[in-house]
């Protein structure tokens, strides 16, 4: 199933897909939050809804947004990209709003949500994730536009660099900055 020594595939991973490259990592983290937020909300609503209804409903909402973002980022079609932009934006607005709300009015949140304290219970990943999501969507859109331009101008020989970060720095040894997207161990 795995042949790590396979020859490099120059253009097999389309740079305009939101699923490949750094997007692979992004979708993985989104999937993780989709699972944890929705499962947690499900348990809380099923077992002790009266204890903190606002917090639990917000958790459920966050879970839905994460599921939507995961699926659409993994799909990567033009329609999916539009939904992904909306879900990442809603997510960013949600984490900012709920984060502020939870600090201003702790009584409403006797139990935490994913977005409480701007996601402090989750290493602030919920705050950073939508930002990376939106940046990634923007960058892949640019690559996509470039590629389509290059394809339409058939003989524009040098335009094929599609904007993908990998593939250009061929061998091991290079690579520096873009590694530590999640470097908080």
């Amino acid at each position: 199933m795995s042949e790590p020594a396979a020859p490099p595939e120059p253009r097999a991973s389309q740079p305009d897909s939101t699923r490949t490259g750094p997007g692979r990592l992004l979708v993985a983290i989104y999937a993780l939050f989709a699972l944890s937020a929705s499962a947690r909300a499900g348990v809380q609503i099923a077992t002790k809804f009266g204890h903190a209804p606002v917090a639990y409903l917000l958790s459920a909402f966050a879970g839905l947004v994460y599921i939507l973002a995961t699926v659409t980022l993994a799909a990567g079609s033009p329609a999916a990209r539009r939904i992904a932009v909306v879900s990442c934006s809603v997510e960013l607005a949600g984490v900012l709003a709920v984060g502020t709300w939870s600090l201003a009015d702790p009584a409403t949140f006797p139990d935490a949500t994913v977005w409480s304290g701007y996601g402090s219970g989750y290493g602030f990943v919920p705050l950073v994730l939508p930002v990376f999501g939106l940046l990634w969507l923007r960058r892949t859109r640019r690559a996509r536009t470039l590629r389509m331009t290059a394809a339409s101008a058939e003989d524009a020989g040098e335009a094929a660099d599609g904007g993908a970060g990998h593939g250009r720095d061929g061998g091991p040894g290079h690579s520096a900055e873009d590694v530590v997207a999640d470097g908080r161990a």
Partner: protein, 124 residues
Amino acid sequence: MSSVNGAVPTTIIIAGLALAGYALVMTARNRRMSVPLLAAVGVLEILLLVQVGLIVARLAGGERPAGLATLIGYLIAMPFIPVAAAFWGLAERSRWGPAVIAVAGLVAAVLMVRLHQIWPVIHV
């Protein structure tokens, strides 16, 4: 007894962090998924299954945590983390495959801490 009990979660934390570190080095060096990395994921998977077995044994012995539903959720989800990461990482033909594995290693370590919070008899 408690030290024996704590040996597996502690091992998982160390193994998870080591796997994450190794995978991140692979990402930094622009390497793809490799057989050694997959083998390490397999080791983590086995450790997690052992941990699930130990907890199920305690539950079968009649002990119950306060957050039983949450604990069961963790028991179900835990074994899928390395498997899902391996498949998702293998689908990637770049350095970002190992990066996915790094996430799985970190998550495994965090899960052990969360397990202890859910049910303090699970020592770390």
